[in-house]
Symmetry: C2
Subunit: 158 residues, 2 copies
DNA sequence: CTAGATTCATATGTATACAAATGATCGGTC
DNA sequence: GACCGATCATTTGTATACATATGAATCTAG
Protein backbone atom coordinates (compact mmCIF):
# COMPACT_ATOMS: atom_id res chain seq x y z
CA UNK A 1 0.00 0.00 0.00
CA UNK A 2 1.36 3.41 -0.96
CA UNK A 3 1.83 6.35 1.38
CA UNK A 4 -1.04 8.11 -0.34
CA UNK A 5 -3.46 5.25 -0.02
CA UNK A 6 -2.54 5.02 3.62
CA UNK A 7 -3.19 8.70 4.04
CA UNK A 8 -6.60 8.45 2.40
CA UNK A 9 -7.56 5.44 4.46
CA UNK A 10 -6.44 7.23 7.59
CA UNK A 11 -8.49 10.31 6.81
CA UNK A 12 -10.23 11.17 10.08
CA UNK A 13 -13.99 10.58 10.14
CA UNK A 14 -15.87 13.87 9.86
CA UNK A 15 -16.45 15.42 13.26
CA UNK A 16 -19.86 15.98 14.76
CA UNK A 17 -21.85 13.32 12.92
CA UNK A 18 -25.54 13.00 13.66
CA UNK A 19 -26.15 9.87 15.78
CA UNK A 20 -28.23 8.19 13.07
CA UNK A 21 -25.42 8.76 10.59
CA UNK A 22 -22.75 7.30 12.86
CA UNK A 23 -24.85 4.22 13.59
CA UNK A 24 -25.85 3.48 9.99
CA UNK A 25 -23.83 0.72 8.37
CA UNK A 26 -24.47 0.44 4.67
CA UNK A 27 -22.87 -2.99 4.49
CA UNK A 28 -25.45 -4.46 6.87
CA UNK A 29 -28.58 -3.21 5.12
CA UNK A 30 -30.82 -5.75 3.40
CA UNK A 31 -30.90 -3.71 0.25
CA UNK A 32 -27.15 -3.67 -0.07
CA UNK A 33 -26.88 -7.38 0.70
CA UNK A 34 -29.62 -8.27 -1.77
CA UNK A 35 -27.88 -6.28 -4.46
CA UNK A 36 -24.52 -7.90 -3.78
CA UNK A 37 -26.01 -11.38 -3.72
CA UNK A 38 -27.85 -10.73 -6.95
CA UNK A 39 -24.68 -9.33 -8.45
CA UNK A 40 -22.75 -12.44 -7.49
CA UNK A 41 -25.43 -14.68 -8.94
CA UNK A 42 -25.36 -12.73 -12.22
CA UNK A 43 -21.61 -13.28 -12.44
CA UNK A 44 -22.02 -17.01 -11.73
CA UNK A 45 -24.76 -17.14 -14.35
CA UNK A 46 -22.72 -15.48 -17.03
CA UNK A 47 -19.82 -17.77 -16.33
CA UNK A 48 -21.96 -20.89 -16.07
CA UNK A 49 -24.08 -20.33 -19.16
CA UNK A 50 -20.86 -20.25 -21.17
CA UNK A 51 -21.06 -20.33 -24.94
CA UNK A 52 -24.86 -20.29 -24.90
CA UNK A 53 -24.44 -16.58 -24.34
CA UNK A 54 -27.72 -15.84 -22.59
CA UNK A 55 -28.43 -13.21 -20.01
CA UNK A 56 -30.50 -14.21 -16.98
CA UNK A 57 -33.52 -12.42 -18.40
CA UNK A 58 -33.14 -13.91 -21.85
CA UNK A 59 -32.97 -17.31 -20.21
CA UNK A 60 -36.01 -16.58 -18.05
CA UNK A 61 -38.00 -15.52 -21.11
CA UNK A 62 -37.04 -18.65 -23.01
CA UNK A 63 -37.98 -20.87 -20.07
CA UNK A 64 -41.43 -19.35 -19.70
CA UNK A 65 -42.14 -19.47 -23.43
CA UNK A 66 -41.05 -23.08 -23.35
CA UNK A 67 -43.30 -23.79 -20.37
CA UNK A 68 -46.43 -22.35 -21.99
CA UNK A 69 -45.78 -22.98 -25.64
CA UNK A 70 -47.42 -19.74 -26.77
CA UNK A 71 -47.35 -16.49 -24.80
CA UNK A 72 -48.13 -12.87 -25.46
CA UNK A 73 -45.44 -10.33 -24.74
CA UNK A 74 -47.28 -8.75 -21.82
CA UNK A 75 -48.08 -12.12 -20.33
CA UNK A 76 -44.43 -13.06 -20.54
CA UNK A 77 -43.52 -9.85 -18.80
CA UNK A 78 -45.82 -10.65 -15.92
CA UNK A 79 -44.53 -14.19 -15.63
CA UNK A 80 -40.92 -13.07 -15.48
CA UNK A 81 -41.51 -9.81 -13.56
CA UNK A 82 -40.34 -7.64 -16.41
CA UNK A 83 -41.54 -4.19 -17.37
CA UNK A 84 -43.27 -4.03 -20.77
CA UNK A 85 -40.48 -1.77 -21.99
CA UNK A 86 -37.84 -4.19 -20.77
CA UNK A 87 -39.69 -7.15 -22.23
CA UNK A 88 -39.68 -5.40 -25.57
CA UNK A 89 -35.91 -5.26 -25.66
CA UNK A 90 -35.36 -8.80 -24.41
CA UNK A 91 -37.79 -10.21 -26.99
CA UNK A 92 -36.23 -8.13 -29.75
CA UNK A 93 -32.80 -9.63 -29.12
CA UNK A 94 -34.13 -13.18 -28.86
CA UNK A 95 -35.94 -12.76 -32.18
CA UNK A 96 -32.83 -11.28 -33.76
CA UNK A 97 -30.91 -14.37 -32.66
CA UNK A 98 -33.53 -16.67 -34.07
CA UNK A 99 -34.41 -18.23 -30.72
CA UNK A 100 -38.09 -17.24 -30.77
CA UNK A 101 -40.56 -16.10 -33.39
CA UNK A 102 -43.37 -13.58 -33.21
CA UNK A 103 -46.67 -13.98 -34.98
CA UNK A 104 -49.63 -11.63 -34.85
CA UNK A 105 -52.57 -13.04 -32.92
CA UNK A 106 -55.44 -13.30 -35.42
CA UNK A 107 -58.04 -13.05 -32.64
CA UNK A 108 -56.60 -10.00 -30.91
CA UNK A 109 -54.63 -7.72 -33.15
CA UNK A 110 -53.08 -5.93 -30.18
CA UNK A 111 -51.11 -8.98 -29.17
CA UNK A 112 -48.15 -10.77 -30.66
CA UNK A 113 -47.75 -14.42 -29.88
CA UNK A 114 -44.28 -15.66 -28.97
CA UNK A 115 -43.07 -19.17 -29.68
CA UNK A 116 -39.76 -20.99 -29.54
CA UNK A 117 -37.98 -21.85 -32.76
CA UNK A 118 -36.29 -25.23 -33.05
CA UNK A 119 -33.03 -23.50 -32.30
CA UNK A 120 -34.65 -21.83 -29.32
CA UNK A 121 -35.93 -25.10 -27.96
CA UNK A 122 -32.55 -26.75 -28.24
CA UNK A 123 -30.97 -23.75 -26.56
CA UNK A 124 -33.37 -23.80 -23.57
CA UNK A 125 -32.85 -27.49 -23.06
CA UNK A 126 -29.09 -27.05 -22.97
CA UNK A 127 -29.36 -23.92 -20.85
CA UNK A 128 -31.56 -25.53 -18.21
CA UNK A 129 -28.93 -28.17 -17.54
CA UNK A 130 -26.44 -25.41 -16.85
CA UNK A 131 -28.97 -23.35 -14.92
CA UNK A 132 -29.26 -26.18 -12.43
CA UNK A 133 -25.52 -26.01 -11.88
CA UNK A 134 -25.68 -22.23 -11.65
CA UNK A 135 -28.27 -22.45 -8.90
CA UNK A 136 -26.11 -24.98 -7.07
CA UNK A 137 -23.04 -22.76 -7.38
CA UNK A 138 -24.96 -19.76 -6.12
CA UNK A 139 -26.13 -21.67 -3.07
CA UNK A 140 -22.79 -23.38 -2.52
CA UNK A 141 -21.83 -21.19 0.49
CA UNK A 142 -24.85 -22.55 2.38
CA UNK A 143 -25.11 -25.97 3.97
CA UNK A 144 -27.76 -28.44 2.86
CA UNK A 145 -29.93 -27.55 5.82
CA UNK A 146 -29.48 -23.82 5.41
CA UNK A 147 -30.62 -23.75 1.79
CA UNK A 148 -34.31 -24.47 2.24
CA UNK A 149 -34.42 -22.08 5.20
CA UNK A 150 -32.88 -19.31 3.16
CA UNK A 151 -35.11 -19.92 0.15
CA UNK A 152 -38.23 -19.95 2.30
CA UNK A 153 -37.32 -16.64 3.91
CA UNK A 154 -36.29 -15.11 0.61
CA UNK A 155 -39.61 -16.09 -0.91
CA UNK A 156 -41.40 -14.16 1.83
CA UNK A 157 -39.65 -10.99 0.70
CA UNK A 158 -41.29 -10.88 -2.74
CA UNK B 1 -61.08 -13.12 -18.06
CA UNK B 2 -61.78 -12.98 -21.77
CA UNK B 3 -62.24 -15.99 -24.02
CA UNK B 4 -58.94 -15.25 -25.67
CA UNK B 5 -56.99 -15.05 -22.46
CA UNK B 6 -58.54 -18.31 -21.41
CA UNK B 7 -57.51 -19.87 -24.68
CA UNK B 8 -53.93 -18.68 -24.29
CA UNK B 9 -53.72 -19.88 -20.71
CA UNK B 10 -55.15 -23.22 -21.74
CA UNK B 11 -52.57 -23.67 -24.50
CA UNK B 12 -51.35 -27.24 -24.12
CA UNK B 13 -47.83 -27.62 -22.78
CA UNK B 14 -45.46 -28.62 -25.58
CA UNK B 15 -45.31 -32.36 -25.94
CA UNK B 16 -42.18 -34.41 -25.47
CA UNK B 17 -40.28 -32.15 -23.08
CA UNK B 18 -36.87 -33.22 -21.89
CA UNK B 19 -37.10 -34.30 -18.22
CA UNK B 20 -34.82 -31.51 -17.05
CA UNK B 21 -37.04 -28.97 -18.78
CA UNK B 22 -40.24 -30.31 -17.25
CA UNK B 23 -38.74 -30.33 -13.77
CA UNK B 24 -37.19 -26.85 -13.90
CA UNK B 25 -39.23 -24.20 -12.11
CA UNK B 26 -37.98 -20.72 -12.79
CA UNK B 27 -39.96 -19.29 -9.89
CA UNK B 28 -38.08 -21.41 -7.37
CA UNK B 29 -34.55 -20.57 -8.48
CA UNK B 30 -32.38 -18.46 -6.17
CA UNK B 31 -31.48 -16.13 -8.97
CA UNK B 32 -35.07 -15.35 -9.78
CA UNK B 33 -35.97 -14.91 -6.11
CA UNK B 34 -32.95 -12.68 -5.47
CA UNK B 35 -33.90 -10.53 -8.43
CA UNK B 36 -37.52 -10.23 -7.32
CA UNK B 37 -36.55 -9.41 -3.75
CA UNK B 38 -34.09 -6.80 -4.92
CA UNK B 39 -36.73 -5.41 -7.25
CA UNK B 40 -39.19 -5.11 -4.39
CA UNK B 41 -36.61 -3.40 -2.21
CA UNK B 42 -35.84 -0.90 -4.97
CA UNK B 43 -39.52 -0.03 -5.19
CA UNK B 44 -39.75 0.40 -1.41
CA UNK B 45 -36.62 2.54 -1.53
CA UNK B 46 -37.91 4.83 -4.23
CA UNK B 47 -41.17 5.26 -2.38
CA UNK B 48 -39.54 5.71 1.03
CA UNK B 49 -36.85 8.16 0.00
CA UNK B 50 -39.61 10.45 -1.22
CA UNK B 51 -38.74 13.99 -2.16
CA UNK B 52 -35.03 13.45 -1.51
CA UNK B 53 -35.06 11.81 -4.94
CA UNK B 54 -32.08 9.52 -4.55
CA UNK B 55 -31.52 6.17 -6.19
CA UNK B 56 -30.17 3.36 -3.99
CA UNK B 57 -26.72 3.74 -5.54
CA UNK B 58 -26.67 7.52 -5.20
CA UNK B 59 -27.58 7.04 -1.55
CA UNK B 60 -24.91 4.38 -1.07
CA UNK B 61 -22.28 6.67 -2.59
CA UNK B 62 -23.29 9.56 -0.33
CA UNK B 63 -23.19 7.34 2.76
CA UNK B 64 -19.68 6.07 2.05
CA UNK B 65 -18.35 9.52 1.23
CA UNK B 66 -19.90 10.71 4.48
CA UNK B 67 -18.33 7.81 6.37
CA UNK B 68 -14.82 8.49 5.14
CA UNK B 69 -14.85 12.20 4.57
CA UNK B 70 -12.64 12.05 1.49
CA UNK B 71 -12.64 9.22 -1.04
CA UNK B 72 -11.27 8.64 -4.48
CA UNK B 73 -13.68 7.52 -7.16
CA UNK B 74 -12.23 4.03 -7.48
CA UNK B 75 -12.15 3.57 -3.74
CA UNK B 76 -15.81 4.54 -3.59
CA UNK B 77 -16.57 2.03 -6.29
CA UNK B 78 -14.95 -0.76 -4.30
CA UNK B 79 -16.74 0.25 -1.11
CA UNK B 80 -20.14 0.24 -2.78
CA UNK B 81 -19.48 -2.66 -5.19
CA UNK B 82 -19.80 -0.50 -8.26
CA UNK B 83 -18.00 -0.82 -11.57
CA UNK B 84 -15.69 2.11 -12.37
CA UNK B 85 -17.88 2.94 -15.36
CA UNK B 86 -20.99 2.87 -13.21
CA UNK B 87 -19.33 4.91 -10.49
CA UNK B 88 -18.49 7.53 -13.07
CA UNK B 89 -22.14 8.07 -13.93
CA UNK B 90 -23.37 8.06 -10.35
CA UNK B 91 -20.72 10.61 -9.30
CA UNK B 92 -21.46 12.76 -12.32
CA UNK B 93 -25.11 13.07 -11.36
CA UNK B 94 -24.35 13.76 -7.69
CA UNK B 95 -21.93 16.51 -8.69
CA UNK B 96 -24.49 17.96 -11.10
CA UNK B 97 -26.98 18.13 -8.23
CA UNK B 98 -24.46 19.83 -5.96
CA UNK B 99 -24.41 17.04 -3.39
CA UNK B 100 -20.70 16.30 -3.70
CA UNK B 101 -17.64 18.07 -5.06
CA UNK B 102 -14.60 16.76 -6.91
CA UNK B 103 -11.11 18.08 -6.44
CA UNK B 104 -7.93 16.84 -8.06
CA UNK B 105 -5.59 15.06 -5.67
CA UNK B 106 -2.35 17.07 -5.63
CA UNK B 107 -0.33 14.04 -4.52
CA UNK B 108 -1.62 11.63 -7.18
CA UNK B 109 -2.75 13.30 -10.33
CA UNK B 110 -4.62 10.21 -11.49
CA UNK B 111 -7.14 10.49 -8.67
CA UNK B 112 -10.01 12.83 -7.95
CA UNK B 113 -11.03 13.30 -4.36
CA UNK B 114 -14.75 13.29 -3.55
CA UNK B 115 -16.26 15.19 -0.67
CA UNK B 116 -19.77 16.07 0.49
CA UNK B 117 -21.04 19.60 0.09
CA UNK B 118 -23.08 21.13 2.91
CA UNK B 119 -26.17 20.34 0.89
CA UNK B 120 -24.90 16.80 0.43
CA UNK B 121 -24.31 16.34 4.15
CA UNK B 122 -27.80 17.56 5.02
CA UNK B 123 -29.23 15.26 2.37
CA UNK B 124 -27.44 12.16 3.69
CA UNK B 125 -28.52 12.86 7.22
CA UNK B 126 -32.14 13.15 6.17
CA UNK B 127 -31.85 10.16 3.85
CA UNK B 128 -30.40 7.86 6.51
CA UNK B 129 -33.44 8.39 8.71
CA UNK B 130 -35.61 7.24 5.85
CA UNK B 131 -33.23 4.43 4.91
CA UNK B 132 -33.76 2.91 8.34
CA UNK B 133 -37.49 2.85 7.67
CA UNK B 134 -36.87 1.45 4.19
CA UNK B 135 -34.87 -1.43 5.66
CA UNK B 136 -37.64 -2.08 8.15
CA UNK B 137 -40.28 -2.06 5.43
CA UNK B 138 -38.24 -4.43 3.29
CA UNK B 139 -37.90 -6.88 6.18
CA UNK B 140 -41.49 -6.43 7.33
CA UNK B 141 -42.68 -9.80 5.94
CA UNK B 142 -40.25 -11.58 8.29
CA UNK B 143 -40.73 -12.06 12.01
CA UNK B 144 -38.28 -10.62 14.50
CA UNK B 145 -36.58 -13.96 14.89
CA UNK B 146 -36.45 -14.66 11.17
CA UNK B 147 -34.69 -11.42 10.28
CA UNK B 148 -31.25 -12.11 11.77
CA UNK B 149 -31.36 -15.64 10.36
CA UNK B 150 -32.13 -14.36 6.89
CA UNK B 151 -29.50 -11.64 7.03
CA UNK B 152 -26.85 -14.07 8.23
CA UNK B 153 -27.58 -16.48 5.40
CA UNK B 154 -27.80 -13.70 2.83
CA UNK B 155 -24.41 -12.41 3.95
CA UNK B 156 -22.91 -15.82 3.22
CA UNK B 157 -23.97 -15.49 -0.41
CA UNK B 158 -21.73 -12.52 -1.17
C1' DC C 1 16.98 5.16 -13.00
C1' DT C 2 14.33 3.22 -16.58
C1' DA C 3 11.07 -0.43 -18.62
C1' DG C 4 7.11 -2.89 -17.69
C1' DA C 5 3.17 -3.69 -14.94
C1' DT C 6 -0.52 -1.42 -12.37
C1' DT C 7 -3.80 1.90 -11.18
C1' DC C 8 -7.00 5.68 -12.06
C1' DA C 9 -10.43 7.97 -14.59
C1' DT C 10 -12.85 8.03 -18.79
C1' DA C 11 -15.32 6.50 -23.01
C1' DT C 12 -18.12 3.33 -25.75
C1' DG C 13 -21.35 -0.29 -26.45
C1' DT C 14 -24.73 -3.62 -24.82
C1' DA C 15 -28.37 -5.11 -21.55
C1' DT C 16 -31.56 -4.62 -17.94
C1' DA C 17 -35.06 -1.63 -15.31
C1' DC C 18 -38.64 1.55 -14.91
C1' DA C 19 -41.55 5.90 -15.57
C1' DA C 20 -44.35 8.14 -18.73
C1' DA C 21 -46.51 8.88 -23.02
C1' DT C 22 -48.58 7.18 -27.40
C1' DG C 23 -51.56 4.81 -30.82
C1' DA C 24 -54.10 0.75 -31.91
C1' DT C 25 -57.36 -2.34 -30.38
C1' DC C 26 -60.57 -4.53 -27.46
C1' DG C 27 -64.31 -5.04 -23.78
C1' DG C 28 -68.29 -3.81 -21.43
C1' DT C 29 -72.12 -0.72 -21.00
C1' DC C 30 -75.83 2.17 -21.92
C1' DG D 1 -74.02 -0.10 -31.83
C1' DA D 2 -71.23 3.84 -30.44
C1' DC D 3 -68.64 5.47 -26.49
C1' DC D 4 -65.27 4.85 -22.65
C1' DG D 5 -62.15 2.67 -20.01
C1' DA D 6 -58.76 -0.91 -20.17
C1' DT D 7 -55.13 -3.57 -22.44
C1' DC D 8 -51.27 -4.31 -25.65
C1' DA D 9 -47.12 -3.04 -27.81
C1' DT D 10 -44.02 0.59 -28.55
C1' DT D 11 -41.15 4.75 -27.81
C1' DT D 12 -38.40 7.95 -25.15
C1' DG D 13 -35.62 9.22 -21.38
C1' DT D 14 -33.03 8.24 -17.20
C1' DA D 15 -30.21 5.13 -14.28
C1' DT D 16 -27.67 1.17 -13.15
C1' DA D 17 -24.33 -2.69 -14.60
C1' DC D 18 -20.52 -4.52 -16.87
C1' DA D 19 -17.00 -5.62 -20.64
C1' DT D 20 -13.55 -3.52 -23.06
C1' DA D 21 -10.41 -0.06 -24.57
C1' DT D 22 -7.74 4.18 -23.84
C1' DG D 23 -4.49 7.63 -22.02
C1' DA D 24 -2.28 9.53 -18.07
C1' DA D 25 0.14 8.78 -14.03
C1' DT D 26 2.34 5.89 -10.63
C1' DC D 27 4.80 1.96 -8.87
C1' DT D 28 8.15 -1.82 -8.96
C1' DA D 29 11.69 -4.67 -10.58
C1' DG D 30 16.03 -4.98 -12.19
Amino acid sequence: MSKRAAKLAAAPPPKGEAPAVAAYRLEEQVGHLLRRAHQRHAAIFQDGIGDLQLTPMQFAALVKICDLGRVSQNQLGRLTAMDPATTQGVIQRLVARGLIERTADPDDRRMTVLRLTAHGRATVEAAIVRAVEITAATLAPLTDSERPVFLALLRKLI
